[in-house]
Amino acid sequence: MEGLGGHIAAYPIISLVIFVSFFIGAILWALSLSRSHVNHMSQLPLDSQAGEKPHE
């Protein structure tokens, strides 16, 4: 493949680097959350709401 100023060979490598770092980042991110925060967040849909009855 030619074009893009002759640097096309770097294209797949760049893609791979972006891809892998993106995932490592996302996993680290998720792991770094504190337990209290996670609990708070996961309770959000269950907060008692106006005009809503809890599901039986």
Binding site: M1, E2, G3, L4, I8, Y11, S15, I18, F19, F22, F23, A26, I27, W29, A30, L31, S32, L33, S34, R35, S36, H37, V38, N39, H40, M41, S42, Q43, L44, P45, L46, D47, Q49, A50, G51, E52, K53, P54, H55, E56
Partner: protein
Amino acid sequence: MKIETFKYDNSIVRAFSIASVVFGIVGMLVGLLAAVQIYFPAANLGLPFTTFGRIRPLHTNAVIFAFVGNAMFAGIYYSTQRLCKARLFSDVLSWIHFWGWQAIILSAAITLPLGITTSKEYAELEWPIDLAIALVWVVFAINFFGTLAKRRERHMYVALWFYISTVITVAVLHIVNSFELPLSWLKSYSVYAGVQDALVQWWYGHNAVAFFLTTPYLGLMYYFLPKAANRPVFSYRLSIIHFWALIFIYIWAGPHHLLYSALPDWAQSLGMVFSLMLIAPSWGGMLNGLLTLRGAWDKVRQDPMLKFMVVAVTAYGMSTLEGPLMSIKSINALTHFTDYTIAHVHTGALGWNGFLTFSMLYWLIPQMYQTKLWSTKLANAHFWIGLLGMTFYVLPIYWGGVTQSLMWKQFNAEGFLQYPNFLETLLNIIPMHMLRSIGGSLYLTGVILMVINLLKTAGQGVFLANPEAQAPALKDQVEHAEAPHSYHHRWLEKKPMIFTVLALVAILIGGLVEAVPTFLIRTNIPTIASVRPYTPLELQGRDLYIREGCVGCHSQLVRPFRSETERYGTYSKAGEYVYDHPFLWGSKRTGPDLHRVGKKYPDAWHVKHMENPTSTSPGSIMPPYPWLLTRKLDTKATQKKITVMRKLGVPYPDGFEFTALDDLKAQAKSISDNLKQTGAPVEADREIIALIAYLQRLGTDIKAASQGGTL
């Protein structure tokens, strides 16, 4: 700390819910009509407007954008208000959004049966409607982000992230795929041609499935499933990884719709690899959903809402395993262009989108009407009929798809095709199509039971239009104590705009990696010297081919398999499509491929075939097109068509537009003269003449140079 009192807007949620159900029934009825026509073509009542090619896009548009679209807006508006502890940003915008969307649906329901279409799947609507979609989507975006801006809950729950990715990605997809040059108010041509048009279309088509049918519904799952189970989601951390991995990977996988096509090989491989990787986030999400029910499975037995939800999430898991498997080139070689794909999408549509919508409605309507569901028994009946209907829908055509594909590929001991007549392979699986329509009818019956149940529920309750709620203003809230390492995503959850930009970057990377080389590198689409632009008459014929929706049943893409080159002729090359605005590769072969049909049959054969397909092909299920023989070809726009095509890069010589009409008439006369001599006289000014000109041209440019086929 000052507590603020505010009201949620339930009216808009109810309006979108009603619209979803009404259009859902219409969309399913049209689907049923299309399904019946496969074995009983006369079900079109002899009308152009109700013929398969025109109503198939009507069905897909109705169920995707009207049924699922309206349900998605209902669910998003209900949950966003609660998750943000705020009323929607603007009531006026909410109602503009509602009526605007319904107007778009109505215009689709009018234009598609009239044959006004761009022919690009799930993007068939013509450019003025495309503009309206963009405007209404902007209204939705302002209303949604405005609500996020005035929220009283500091952190955005994961459902909201999925909604954010939906709002921005659908906008990007829609705009990029809708670049078209108008010819008139109701006709335009894609600015992309051939392979590039195919890549953009399936980047769009695939991600419309991802960001219209999947991400918003995942948001709904993360909101409504915990509510139904009355317990928090299994793992919030997993939901974060699910989200980022899903939106990042999904966008790369579009080329899996174009395996073994004329798309450059590297792009096909990229599509396949990323599709396989998609299993990980998809199954992470499915397991996260199902594991939310840990310890609550006893409830599933009694609660119809949970039953629907469990099947929905399971169907999501099944179709997101099946999709990647179908993206493996060797499996795709078997399933592509067959009914297997139709079964696959219906596992997703009927199971995932349908059942999740029903689950949500069974929960929302009693809540908003402050009452209990009228009949749990009836809801259970709906569940079982729906499940049975789904099974009867998908299983026969999974079977039929594989059977037909194997028949296409079967060689006899002498090395010839075992079933050289395409029709034989189709007629063999007709019983499967009959079973499929029974399945569809059962599913629709279930929906009607739901409508009765929900109407009765509404009748026994009182609608609460503006429930009152209380929460402290955001600025008055004290952050709860932070652990030392929880900074990053917490910070992001507080910043909707930065979050949105990051999500946008994540979805743009994959698209750019595929599109940039395909558009910039010449060697990816090798040109072929003998490929010439269409003549004016052929161009008119091509527009008729688009109007009648021929692409719904006939591909124009011969794959490089011996079974296909034996049947159709030499395989299709990228360079053959450089003047195709839009591309017409198709995605389903209910009839045979047409890329090499040019000069295969005499002109008179086409006249007889169009007038009554069974006269030339006994047992054919193609509908007759008698109107093509009687209608006069509209040649008013001939000159402009040449000008527009030239603007798009088709190299017509200077001044050709002024002689184009004469050129058209001369070619039409020669075809008409030929027809008179061969016993099928048709006037030169009829539509069929143009269609014949186009069909006889198809695939002939390189035929002389190549001897690969046996046509």
